[in-house]
Amino acid sequence: MTWIRKDLLGLEELNREELELILSTAESFKEVSSREIKKVPALRGKTVVNLFYEPSTRTRVSFEVAAKRLSADVINIATETSSVKKGETLIDTGKNIEALKADIIVMRHNASGAAAMLARNLNISVVNAGDGWHEHPTQALLDIFTLKEKLGRIEGLNVSIVGDIAHSRVARSNIWGLLKLGAKVTLCAPKILIPAAIEDMGVAVTNDIEEALAKADAVNVLRMQFERDGETAFPRQLEYFKQFGITAERLKKAKKNIIVMHPGPVNRGIEISSEVADGANSVILEQVTNGIAVRMAVLFLVAQAQDKLANITKDEPSLS
């Protein structure tokens, strides 16, 4: 299996072999972070641009650390400091970055599909670091990587995702990834936060948290955002916690070794109690550590695909 994609835009378009390739590549990169000198030369001479149109600390830093551990040069562009505010189009911004001879753009954008749009207009690689409500592929990959590390497999696992599914790119990427690798996925949220026809993705849906936890080998708890530009969201934080919050008491009725994941940042006392977030079942900090390995793998694979594509063009006889 070789990776041939210039970009990583989402998990929906990947097949099982591609997902497994990223996970196994991440496994070999994980060891780098435990070395005394945490660096390999895999991307030496490559430039990675973090282009972030939404505030993000953890994802941006994770990508930056990953790129640096691969010896790439990293440039961070945040909207406040760029010409984006002057009305430059996304494609123009991308083409300017390409003209700087950067190799990979890692982009976070608030519009669904922005990464796909940019990728089809550029020759350099685009890695989606979250686009609107659409996908956040590296987050799902690190969730799946952590799950596999803990339980040894994904096939046949019961994974529940709890929270604001409607507005969650993390949920969508997790659903695609988990289903392709053979897990069973259950979504749990108040009805207004379950998007239309999501059952057609091949998931079960419930509004009962106890039911969602009963058979689960793992639960992925999404961050709740109660303020959302004029949108009807779930009314009260406390009410949400009462009905859907992950508490020690609720975990008592679940499998003893249930894995508790959260993409962060955690709202303690809103979607999860502190006791659970810091407890024995929680793998929240391990997710952060694994995020580095997964992102190293993704950057490495798309860069390698770029080099391959470049060689193919070079080998072709010139027509002119």
Binding site: A111, S112, M117, G132, H134, R172, P195, I198
Partner: protein, 425 residues
């Protein structure tokens, strides 16, 4: 100037003609339709093996002039129309300024007289500035040349005002074209609400936002006796409501656009904004229902909803891109490919929907090839395949859903008011 069209298969449903005939055009009019016409003509067009039909009448076109000449002009749109076999079009009033006053109608009429290459009829607004607040002078606008009224792009939200508009329209004997959409229900959606919107993480536009407003508009029309025409039907529920109303005798007609019988919502899955339009592409079942509605006659008209936009307005983030696609240059070929090819419509039924019915609804003397009528004729190679190439479009804008699609049925000639245009690509 005499032009003789020889040996073409003439299809002219108004005159019950579906046979090989010659047509003689003198000046801007048709002067003879006979077998084997023998006259000295200035120009002879050999049409053996080709379909000779009335030029299409597209009753839903956005010219963009006045106001957005960067997207399209009267000149470029009418050239595009001829390129697609369309000889007559209805200009929608959502320009800048909107066509909501005698003064603005005059402005548009002057511009049309100056630069139109095809026949252009005017649809005036229902309300001032198309804001849904104050009714226009319906009778006055009709007198000054409007053949229909519409706030296209928006629906008149107020029931009272819409009722008033329909009463005035009924008195003035002018049809009302309804953009039936309840924006409170469609919210700020950008694609069909359902699995597609969920998959893409985009806001959905529900079918309710369309069919509930269709039902309201029909209800008010029934009350007033006004003739209404529902624009761009995209879903099954709307058709069911219209079918019931027609049975009851309500004066309602409706149209769909080629993209609604060709594509379903899955075309949007790559975030290609050339499939972003309002109403949005719907489900497979809706596409099937639209085809059925065309076959059983519930849908009276095929119109393009030609909506040109610049690349800067289209090749951007999906949710920010403008709604709408161009269609003048592909609609006839798409209809031939999708409807005649699949046995859904016969040629004469197709001509009814693309020339005769729109003319009847608008009360204009078009859509037939009778003697003494305007020489508005399309000559089509029915089996010839061609690829819709961006660079061959004459429209100023290139936002077509059919780019690089292979279509069947090539418009070889378009004759408009006796003026011949020959097309090579």
């Amino acid at each position: 100037m005499k032009i003789l069209i020889k040996n073409g298969h003439v299809i002219d449903p108004i005159n019950n003609l579906d046979e090989v005939r010659d047509i003689l055009v003198e000046g801007s009019k048709i002067s003879m339709v006979e077998k084997n016409i023998n006259v000295d003509a200035d120009k002879i067009i050999e049409a053996e093996g080709k379909i000779v039909m009335p030029g299409c009448v597209d009753m839903h076109v956005h010219l963009r002039e006045p106001g957005r000449e960067d997207k399209e002009t009267i000149c470029s749109a009418t050239k595009a129309a001829l390129h697609g076999g369309v000889t007559t079009l209805l200009a929608m009033p959502n320009t800048d300024p909107a066509i909501d006053s005698l003064e603005n109608i005059k402005l548009l009429k002057d511009a049309i007289a100056k630069s139109a290459k095809a026949n252009v009829f005017i649809c005036a607004a229902i309300t001032k500035f198309r804001q849904g607040k104050e009714l226009v002078d319906v009778a006055g606008l009709k007198q000054d040349g409007a053949v229909a009224i519409s706030d296209d792009g928006a629906s008149v939200d107020s029931d009272e005002l819409m009722l008033e508009a329909l009463r005035s329209a009924q008195e003035a004997k002018i049809p009302v074209i309804c953009h039936s959409e309840d924006k409170k229900l469609s919210d700020s959606g950008v694609v069909n609400l359902g699995f597609t919107s969920t998959r893409l993480g985009l806001k959905g536009i529900s079918k309710e936002s369309e069919y509930k407003r269709v039902a309201r508009d029909i209800g008010l029309a029934e009350k007033t006796g006004a003739a209404i025409h529902i624009a761009h039907i995209s879903c099954k529920e709307s058709l069911d409501i219209i079918a019931r109303a027609k049975k009851k005798g309500v004066k309602v007609t409706c149209e769909t656009a080629p993209h609604y019988f060709t594509f379903n919502e899955e075309m949007v899955l790559g975030f290609d904004t050339n499939f972003k339009m309002n109403p949005p592409l719907r489900s497979k079942e809706d596409v099937a229902a639209i085809k059925e509605g065309l076959a059983n006659g519930i849908i009276d008209v095929i119109a393009s909803d030609h909506a040109p936009h610049t690349e800067n307005e289209k090749e951007i983030e999906f949710e920010r891109a403008e709604f709408g696609v161009t269609g003048l240059e592909t609609e006839l070929a798409v209809a031939i490919t999708e409807l005649i090819g699949a046995g859904i419509l016969s040629w004469s039924k197709l001509i009814e929907k693309m020339a005769i019915n729109p003319s009847r609804i608008l009360g204009i003397d078009k859509g037939g090839l009778g003697i003494g009528k305007d020489a508005d004729i399309a000559i089509v190679s029915p089996e010839k395949e061609w690829i819709a190439k961006k660079e061959n479009f004459l429209s100023k804008s290139k936002n077509s859903s059919f780019i690089n699609k292979t279509l069947r049925g090539f418009v070889e000639y378009t004759i408009c008011q006796g003026k011949v245009n020959k097309w090579n690509s």
